[in-house]
Symmetry: C2
């Protein structure tokens, strides 16, 4: 029987699973720390793959989700911020030499988009916009059943569009991107600024805030925290209206830690989106859904990639 191997490579841990063809029930699953002992990262990854290799049948392909920009055509990790050892790393070639099966790489946000499209909240749709909001904002777009990649595979960076031309510094080095106002650190920073400017709040002033603290305070009714989530939601909604005009998808899937803030983020977001869309045909039948696959999204995307 044919199998596919899916890998989710992170800065802290690496996960692998082996799936029989046409099945979402893996025959083997393994999870190891990315670093440890005296073995190199690549050796550890090879051991992980060996440990989940099927006892019978053969492997059709390996798919891997990688935390950072990759060249999906060459199978090269360009730069993974959490795995600095792997700069311009031709991972597909290394693994193909070792295992003699095709190896496909994708960045984690693109793989999450594929996972949600094939197996999660976007199942059955042909045009999907996925956006993940946590410490950064990542994106992935499916158009006509194909992942948007672009000439070097660097497309789909939906968090890196200018929303405040002279705004705060972004994780990418640029200024005023959506990520700076709607991701976790941006939410925390704005709240902190309001506190320092004398805003009333139950939030502590003795240490730098996190977005999680803001979210918890908002759930308990703190008005400053509620305003902070609403502001982030509004910026997200405006950007999503732009993405409706650009991509005309039938579903928007939203994942990432910040999206767990729930209605206090989602309601202002939806309101802003509907307010800003230029024609109701863009929202006719549109679904706006939360990501469904949770921690498995990278693995499921890597599986979809392996099978593609």
């Amino acid at each position: 029987m044919n199998h596919y191997i899916a890998l989710d490579i992170g800065g802290t841990q690496m996960r692998g699973a082996c799936y029989p063809e046409n099945s979402l029930s893996p025959v083997k699953v393994e999870r190891i720390a990315t670093r440890g002992g005296s073995t190199s990262l690549l050796e550890r990854l090879i051991q992980l793959i060996q440990s989940i290799w099927p006892d019978q049948g053969h492997v059709g392909a390996i798919g891997a989700a990688v935390p950072g920009p990759v060249d999906p055509y060459q199978g090269v990790i360009i730069k993974a911020p959490n795995i600095p050892e792997w700069l311009e790393m031709p991972l597909s070639q290394y693994l193909e030499d070792q295992f003699h099966v095709p190896v496909h790489l994708g960045n984690d946000a693109n793989m999450a988009a594929m996972g949600e499209w094939k197996y999660g909240a976007g199942k059955g749709h042909h045009h999907l916009v996925y956006i993940t909001v946590s410490t950064g904002i990542g994106g992935g777009v499916i158009l006509d059943d194909r992942l948007l990649l672009g000439v070097r595979g660097m497309g789909g960076e939906l968090g890196h569009v200018t929303v405040v031309p002279d705004g705060a510094l972004c994780g990418c080095g640029q200024r005023g991107h959506l990520e700076t106002v709607a991701a976790g650190p941006g939410i925390a920073r704005w709240t902190q600024e309001q506190l320092q400017a004398g805003a009333q709040s139950s939030l502590p002033t003795d240490h730098p805030l996190t977005a999680k603290e803001v979210s918890l305070a908002a759930q308990k009714g703190d008005s400053l925290a509620i305003a902070a989530l609403a502001r982030a939601g509004r910026y997200l909604g405006w950007a999503l209206a732009d993405y409706l005009h650009i991509f005309n998808p039938s579903v928007i899937v939203i994942g990432g830690g910040v999206s767990q803030s729930g209605a206090l983020l989602f309601e202002p977001m939806k309101l802003a989106l509907h307010e800003r869309v230029m024609h109701q045909d863009y929202t006719k039948g549109l679904q706006i859904a939360r990501a469904e696959l949770g921690d498995d999204v990278g693995l499921m995307g890597a599986l979809a990639l392996a099978q593609s």
Copy 2:
């Protein structure tokens, strides 16, 4: 021999041309006023097609560029601002009933993108962003040799993204879109506002300005007019940097009347783009080109569509 018929339908005139397969030299070309006499628009269009029908051989398909949103899957003109008679008009069906060949529709900006990609400044590229700047801003995107359409064919609206959240009213009814700051009327409006606020300029104050007047004054060295074009160019450059992150194209093609302002628009635009791009890999090998096909762009795009 097989032929293809291309139509460029505008509010003022309709053009048609009949091309032999694998040729860009039409065997027949015709141009008529969109309205006139006692015949309906549809009758006039049918007569136009009859007048360019090949004497020998058969027609493989008809492609038509239409000035407004269309449903390319159903072949329906949703709404053409300059042809209000054709609201929710199933043009493909009408023409297929009449001529018994497949008829494909596309909106004019998308068709211009296809024309420039197949026969113009974007020839040989697989990932193209086309933007046309005149009284409005339209767009079209080719990804992996396919036109971006979306679920209802309404994608690719690159002029309708928010760049000034509380900005001026856009032609689409929304606020603060790129079109409001970088298209002709936005350039004229900003210049007029500066004049009224007392800015020094050679421009007249006795009538509402046009973008063309601003452009001509800029060519002659008027500093306010130069600043107006530079401002529009800067906004365009920022938006194009966003589009590099979103689409990762290998070529950007810029068309439309405003783009004829030349270096005074293009240089600030390129500067802003390079300043705002988050990683040099996005601009490595990137071509930024002016549209090449001029008035023929609609026809050439319709031809590309007919052949697709």
